[in-house]
Amino acid sequence: MATWVLGISALFHDSAVALLKDGVVVAAAQEERFTRIKHDAELPVRAAEWALAEAGITAEDLDWVVFYEKPLAKFQRILVNAVAEFPRAWRAFPRAMQAWLGRKMWIAGELARTFHVPPQKLLFSEHHRSHAASAFLTSPFDEAVILTVDGVGEAATTALWHGRPEAPHVHPVSEVVFPHSLGLFYSAMTAYLGFAVNEGEYKVMGMAAFGEPRFMEQMKQLVRLDEGGGFTLDLDAFCWHWHPTESFTPKLESMLGPARFPGSGFDPSTDEGKRWADIAASTQRMLEDALLHVAKAAKARLDLPNLCLAGGVALNAVANRRLAEDGPFEKVWVQPAAGDAGGALGAALWVWHDVLGHPRKKGAFACGLGRRWTEQQVSDILEDLRAPREALSPDMRLVRAVDDLEGGGVIGWFQGACEYGPRALGHRSILADPRGADTRDRVNARIKFREAFRPFAPAVTAEAVHDYFEVHPALEGPVRHMVATADVKPEHRELLAAVTHVDGSARVQVVHRESDPLFHALLTAFGERTGLPVLLNTSFNLKGDPIVDTPVDALAALYSSDLDAVYIEHHRVTRSERITGGDLQPEPDGDGT
């Protein structure tokens, strides 16, 4: 009889499930892909229903259900903080109590009811332990330093773990606790720069490349790096520890100038735009300096050659590169669901290995863990939606896709199982020819409907990566998942204009034949035709939407944007002309008003 473990992360942001069968991940997905609510925080009911159906089991077959954090420990931190911040937390306290006494305190009961499991099957990991397990237990290392850095979990905001070859594999060493938090610092600066928290952090990273870090003096006052390898924040400039909705105080504005209003335009050639870019650059540099500082302390403590990173901050691809280049480690590992969604996977893996005591079996981490669609399902949907399409053989699918791309087309690429985590890695991707900045502008303006300053990532075959990019050897793992940047070689920057950021870098994805044969074949075919096995690869979604998960989502994106074609499994679907209501008047036997 197989042992089934279901990991769940929920109630903060990016709720998700991960299902293990005898320690092997058989399904993992974020709830947002099902509900179409970006960063959906609700209990991942639909994702769980899908995962169980995918595995061919029911809730009764589950042996363990593990929640990714400990609710009572978190509640304790909130209470203690409210007391410590008396009386200025008077507005935050009622809100927190309403949320906790009204629901979150009783999550065990809700989990049991919602997922139809008896309470004795429920387990609870810890927030940072889940992150740590998600990093180390998917890594290629036998032993490693594990650093988890995010906003806040129960109390910890940054934690050091020892990833060990024997159980317990994830062993706690030390931690920095709330309210001193690098994740919250970066999020507060994200809000200061006019972007949404937990969503706009990538934009700060993109904006940073346009500026110079000329506000470092102020940053060093905001984040003081201590001798012991820790850090202390200037808590007078931030208010996440006592304000219910805001994260920074007027002091921050007195230090850096007025905050950027959400939705304002960004033009780095203006004085104001330059100031924002410089603040973004300084924020990014400060985060990197702090991470390096922490990493050096971790190295001094454990003296191991390899580093595993997780937590929301580990999704900062620029910082990951700096850690590899200037840090003390030989190899760095970041899995693609490094944020809270990955907590579901980490919690489940922790239970399997450290609670149930099963030894590790290392293998390549595959990101395609989500929903997939059969040819018949796709055919039926396309037929029902009367979408103009052609069915293609496997070879012709590649030929036609390369035809489209070489002709300047931008295509949706919907193949196999959806990716787990925020990165589109060739399963639910928008692809284009990377040559020419006009492609980037078109994808930004007419397909993704997003800010013009945001860069696009390149995907490249493993065989050709070193011809075009200067990838640091320590980042061999992260670049598979698009969670680290590399410089585009200077002689190719003009050629690869659509994927080269203003500072000459790119958040490259290196595609290996053995782990992703179809996407590798497409890159190879494009390379054979053009001499360039590189494609612009961005997530298959429109602004404000989660990544597409179903053929219907993909078609909606096709008809709502300027995409030229969508390849859904073996079908090439086009938008010959826009469908309107007039094409589908009520059936002849209906006499609607």
Partner: protein, 249 residues
């Protein structure tokens, strides 16, 4: 005069639209609503067992998504709010993200027939509401023209959903259709009442919690000490891994 709702709309609309920043606020909220509808219609297109209805739901979803973008774009035309208030920030963020929708898709909650009844009723109400705005001339010419385009789609949505309900009736499910229409009609005031009750409850518990904080928590402030910043070692408390995993705290 029309329905009581229409009469009410005629009375309040001129006042509501005359308030400062009303255009931007209303258009942003319409954008959010349309986006929510689009998500629900897409879910219906995926979940329906009636393959003949799938394309209609899909087109409806595309229409709603387009309307959402039109409303959002027009709202932005009215410029950013002048004051950095919380409401203004929320509004700006709504326009950035096109809003968020809560809960399971309506189709899953209601089922096919009731869902169609809901669509028909909601779209009829939208036609009525937008029609009143145009009739009263409370909109600027550009918004008025945009609403005219949107109204054509909304009429189609009413038409096809009503047509489908009538088809169900002809298929011998007339009593189910009537029941679904009644449920949909009464659900709206019921949900409004529930929302109102929730808000009252929220305010009351908020007051109690604030009093609790001010009166009961205050003395503990003397004992509360923040931990020093920097690293602190984590030591095992001796629990077995299973005991650790079973604990919520």
């Amino acid at each position: 005069m029309g329905t009581p709702r229409k009469t009410w709309l005629k009375l309040v609309s001129p006042l509501a639209w005359a308030r400062a920043g009303a255009e931007r606020r209303f258009l942003a909220s319409f954008s959010e609503t349309e986006r929510g509808s689009s998500v629900d219609m897409l879910a219906a297109a995926e979940l329906t067992n009636r393959r003949d209805l799938r394309a209609k739901y899909f087109i409806h979803a595309l229409d709603e998504a387009r309307h959402s973008r039109l409303f959002a774009r027009r709202a932005k035309d009215f410029g950013a709010p002048k004051v950095r208030s919380k409401a203004a920030l929320d509004e700006a963020r709504t326009l950035q993200t096109h809003g968020i929708v809560n809960g399971r898709p309506l189709f899953e909650r209601y089922g096919e027939l009731e869902f169609l009844a809901f669509v028909c009723r909601s779209e009829s109400m939208a036609v009525e509401q937008f029609g009143v705005y145009r009739e009263l001339g409370v909109l600027d010419p550009q918004t008025d023209e945009m609403l005219g385009v949107i109204l054509k789609d909304e009429h189609f949505h009413v038409s096809y959903s009503n047509g489908e309900l009538e088809r169900f009736t002809r298929e011998g499910r007339g009593s189910e259709v009537s029941w679904a229409r009644r449920k949909v009609f009464w659900r709206r005031p019921w949900e409004a009442w529930m929302r109102f009750s929730l808000r009252v409850g929220h305010v009351v518990t908020g007051v109690w919690m604030t009093l609790l904080y001010m009166l009961v928590v205050a003395p503990f402030r003397l004992m509360a000490r923040r931990e020093a910043p920097g690293w602190r070692d984590v030591t095992s408390d001796g629990r077995s891994p299973m005991a650790l995993a079973r604990a919520q705290g």
